[in-house]
């Protein structure tokens, strides 16, 4: 193996160091086309994760930050304000559907979990190489639901309808 620094859990006290006052805003409030993504994090027993942190990253939002960071609340909920990113070519020239990469940090996770948010009703979803690499029965866990004012993207760490997580 190569010498690389290993991951350790973010632990239960991440709120001391990581949340930012404006962390939820991957784009500035009032940006044309801004959307709000909300969702809840739950564990294998269906209980809310009230001590987790969700980070989102998308390319193509520049010059805006493109990065969002939100600790979960008592109900396991998070909220990110951003824009739907454009389609983009992958390294082989195929088209990737609009997506946002997500990192989930929490007590109990020794490594952060990585998932992706896709958007409903997007034509390119049908040919997106990453979505197509996933068992069709589980693909739906990566597609947000349209709700008034934005999108809903719940993250189930374990159990029934477990979210698809990636090894990057």
């Amino acid at each position: 193996m190569t010498d690389l620094t290993p991951s350790q859990t973010v632990g239960p006290f991440l709120h001391i160091g990581l949340p930012w006052a404006d962390g939820s805003f991957a784009v500035a409030e009032g940006t044309p086309g801004a959307i709000t993504i909300t969702g809840r994090l739950t564990d294998g027993a269906g209980a809310a994760l009230s001590d987790a942190l969700v980070e989102t990253w998308q390319s193509g939002a520049q010059p805006q930050r493109g990065f969002g960071r939100c600790p979960t609340g008592e109900d396991g909920g998070y909220r990110i304000v951003t824009v739907v990113p454009p389609v983009q070519p992958d390294r082989n020239g195929a088209i990737e559907a609009p997506h946002i990469d997500v990192a989930v940090f929490s007590r109990g996770l020794l490594n952060h979990l990585v998932t992706r948010i896709y958007f409903p009703g997007v034509e390119e979803n049908a040919t997106d190489p990453v979505l197509r690499s996933i068992d069709p029965a589980r693909r739906g866990t990566l597609i947000a639901a349209e709700v008034p004012g934005g999108y809903l993207f719940d993250i189930r760490l374990q159990g029934d309808k477990e979210t698809v997580f990636f090894d990057v």
Binding site: T2, P6, T9, I16, S59, A94, I100, G108
Partner: protein, 238 residues
């Protein structure tokens, strides 16, 4: 598209499922992880400017009118890629317990004193050579409920972005010679002994400041770019 490709990190990180760490049992995914090819989103990362850093963010002993109690220490090192290339201008965030082993956090209620002059949080940007430095207080060990008479070894939490989403890392820095390390399931979750050793800082006399503070050096090694432009691709051909 001509995109960088970062080496994989096989056998570096703890396993996804590790029940010796009790909180892992209901939170670790049970389905296998799906390999995500590295495309534009994965090989880029947010860029943070100097305006992200406040004047006392790098010195946790000067964030209040009075000094915190405890052993003053300097924690410094470099953020590097595995091929030795420094990662400049990347955000490094830390948080830690105070000298008594108590976090300034609502859910930490074990009976050790809080320090009104210590937040436990700091952040810094690496310089052009990938170097960062914090002045802080040696954190104490503290008990936790994982198993009978369980104590976490003294540690400082680190969060590092790097220049790509693939490099994002949250970890913990430990101190040399800590007798609690061999007993700690979080530390022992790292599969390779060499990896565990990389999380133990080194006492650094050359940066220890006379009549002021002990120094510890902690380098952070992130995945570097693969030298070959070819990806095996076999595991995620489509």
């Amino acid at each position: 598209m001509d995109l960088p490709l970062f080496e994989r990190a096989d056998n570096v990180h703890p396993p996804v499922v590790f029940p010796d760490y009790r909180s892992n049992v209901l939170r670790a995914p049970r389905q296998p992880l799906v390999v995500l090819p590295q495309n534009l989103t994965e090989v880029t990362a947010p860029v943070f400017g100097q305006d992200t850093i406040g004047p006392t963010d790098g010195d946790l002993t000067r964030q209040f009118p009075d000094e915190p109690l405890g052993q003053r220490i300097i924690v410094h090192g470099r953020v590097l890629e595995s091929n030795g290339r420094p990662v400049p201008n990347t955000l490094v965030e830390i948080w830690q317990a105070n000298a008594s082993g108590r976090y300034r956090h609502v859910v930490d209620n074990w009976p050790a004193p809080l320090d009104p002059n210590f937040s436990g949080a700091g952040r810094a940007l690496t310089d052009a050579q990938g170097h960062y430095s914090f002045t802080t207080i040696q954190p104490g060990a503290y008990p936790w409920g994982n198993h009978d008479n369980a104590w976490r070894p003294a540690h400082i939490h680190f969060s590092v972005f790097g220049r790509a989403f693939t490099q994002r890392l949250v970890t913990q820095m430990y101190f040399p010679g800590d007798p609690l390390l061999p007993l700690d399931p979080i530390f022992n979750s790292i599969p390779d002994i060499r990896g565990r050793e990389l999380l133990i800082s080194r006492f650094d006399l050359s940066h220890t400041q006379p009549n002021w503070a002990l120094a510890f050096e902690f380098d952070i090694l992130l995945r570097g770019e693969r030298s070959t432009p070819f990806e095996s691709g076999a595991d995620h051909d489509d």
